[in-house]
Amino acid sequence: MSSTFLGMPATPPRSPYGTGNLRGDRKFPAAAHDELRNEQLRRNLGKATHTIRAKRLNVTGELPDWEQLRDAGSAIKTDTMNRLPELLEQLEQQVTERGGTVHWARDGVEANEIVTRLVRATGSTEVIKVKSMATQEIGLNEHLESAGITPYETDLAELIVQLAHDKPSHILVPAIHRNRDEIRQIFLKEIPGVDPRLDNVPAHLAAAARAYLREKFMTTKVAVSGANFGIAETGTLSVVESEGNGRMCLTLPDTLITVMGIEKVLPRYQDLEVFLQLLPRSSTGERMNPYTSMWTGVTPGDGPQDFHLVLLDNGRTAALADRIGREALNCIRCSACLNVCPVYERAGGHAYGSTYPGPIGAVLTPQLAGMHAAKDDPNSSLPYASSLCGACFDACPVKIDIPSLLVELRHQHTEESGTTAEKLAMKAAAGVMKRPKLFTAAQKAAELGRVLGGRDGKISHLPPPFNGWSDSRDTAAPPKQSFRSWLASDEGAATMRAAADEYDRNQQEEEK
């Protein structure tokens, strides 16, 4: 029975505080401070993001109907959210009818417990994993390890991150912050029995990962995956990948456990015709990713005979309850917004402190986990980690208006924050500017501010909170006269008259 029948609808809860990987331990500016000083990181990110930008533009430019596909993708996701209850029930029914078992998890803690229980029931102490944002979000690996189960990440970038005891910094390429030399060093140090002559050629590094994981694929009885799409109409699940590690995990083990956020459902099988065009071109900049697997429940004689689908909330319903913010749930995790974001490019993914970095992370993370869960919640800084340049909105294959969502979350933050010095300053500024006379007086005062400028008319030091600005920028001292004073002056009137006269003169000449 749904609580809507019990009376007033209740606001759904966020992901429980202190669980999973949806909150860093520092605010964005503090974390970015350190990341910005890492020259290697800056170079790695700059190179990778520029490479992928060009590729994405090439393959999206190839399709004359790209905008129509985006419109369709956006509308399908919005329609999905509007009909989420019935679609989830339909998905559950279809998966169950085809021999799968569906589990529901209110939050990451519950999902972790479900997966651990399912793995234990198989008797296996190891699982192979397909790259999955949902299981990163809930910290499944850490939970499995604490339960004595060893998770092996099989995606190359996830493997690099896991071997380096590092954290992912990108949705698609979690090791984007590492270059080939660093990866070589990690492999030499962490892969048992690796050829010590391994060089930094990407193909050779990939071959080393292939050799290392081959035996795991052949022998491990349980796999854990996420899902890119779950089709309500047919119960079909889909994983989009490149390396074949996904196919290995989805095909060879006896048991497959798929953890899927409830927003990943799609209404119809036909909808794949849209998303199989939008996703690969937006994410890796390929016309199609090398491999996509689609499976429906259990197929006798082919693949895992024991299939479990875990449907995860973990704050998604809290986001859904926000009229504006819910648009972030339309995200298909392509990472195009990260790749075009000037802030992400400089600060890197770790500065966001969440499984979901970049522009989409800045609007998704605070909604899933909240931004006022503790005093000075680091998540409250995320909506401000953007210059609102809008590159993310243009790149988004499902047209999520990320800049508008950021502005909305900023508003929610100021509304929650009570009276702050900034709010008082904003009130004061608006108080002046809503009274034209006061505004004009303030301009006169600003003109007096010329004395702040040095001999060259520049201000080179400003007090906090503007010292960060003046550390690297001069500020021109205010001019002698505002525009309105000039316009009201004899000089202004004469200039405007002369301009109008010039037009008249030109007209007369043309007539001649």
Partner: protein
């Protein structure tokens, strides 16, 4: 046409030369330029920083100042302020305004233009009789590029300027890192973006970096001044209003 000139609070107070140039340019093209005297600020900084209650009187004042039906078009030398009027005023009005404000905002929104789109789209001119014999590179500001979609319009205007040496800015569409209070709240990330922008500007060896927003130019210009660059910043309107008879006198960038 009867054009209501919105000076923008920043332009009016700190960068009056860009607004003067806009006024002169429009008058020279034969239009009546009116300056509703009680205008102040569009409230963009408030909204972008997360404040939507505080700018309600500013939004109201804007709608009142420019709602006059005798004003055919509202023109401003700023892509971001035009973006604010066209996209944010209704958000504020919907949430915290009354029916009158919502109606006022809707009316003004449809006749509000950034300078370059007004010239090219509404007046249908690209050749404005300008003369500017210097090497210039153009930075498309984010809100003009992606919120207003001005596209090639400013470049069309610049290409038609007599004697100009227009050079393409590498990675032009990357944000300069300003973003209003972003440059204060995330000053270091903003600086990293600014440094890359300045590096790209340096490769053009341009005497002038121009754009359609005084705010972004304040940011870029502040950085260029600090590193004692040979390139200075100038608003697009100042180039377009420079003529053979009354040319803009380009002083050396202060080193």
């Amino acid at each position: 046409m009867r054009i209501g000139l919105f000076a923008t609070c920043l332009g009016d107070t700190l960068f009056p030369e860009a607004v003067k140039s806009t006024a002169v340019l429009l008058a020279r093209l034969g239009h009546e330029v009116v300056f509703p005297p009680e205008q102040t600020c569009c409230g963009q900084m408030h909204v972008n920083t997360g404040y939507q209650r505080e700018p309600v009187p500013l939004v109201r004042n804007f709608a009142e100042q420019f709602g006059d039906p005798s004003i055919d078009a509202v023109v401003m030398p700023s892509g971001s302020c035009a973006g604010s009027v066209r996209h944010q005023h209704e958000i504020v009005a919907e949430r915290y305004g009354d029916a009158a404000l919502r109606a006022g905002v809707a009316t003004v929104k449809t006749k509000t233009y950034e300078l370059s789109e007004f010239l090219v789209d509404v007046l249908d001119v690209t050749e404005v009789g300008a003369y500017f014999p210097h090497r210039v590179t153009y930075h498309p500001t984010c809100h003009s590029l992606r919120m207003l979609r001005v596209g090639e319009k400013p470049l069309k205007l610049l290409r038609a300027v007599d004697a100009i040496d227009l050079v393409e800015l590498p990675e032009a569409d990357s944000c300069c890192g300003f973003g209003g209070t972003f440059a204060v709240k995330n000053a270091e990330t903003s600086t990293a973006m600014l440094q890359d922008k300045m590096r790209n500007i340096a490769t053009t060896e341009a005497a002038v970096c121009t754009a359609g927003d005084s705010s972004c130019l304040m940011h870029i210009g502040g950085g260029l001044s600090r590193i004692k660059s040979g390139t200075r910043t100038l608003h697009l309107a100042q180039i377009l209003s420079s003529t053979r008879t009354s040319p803009y006198v380009l002083t050396e960038a202060v080193r």
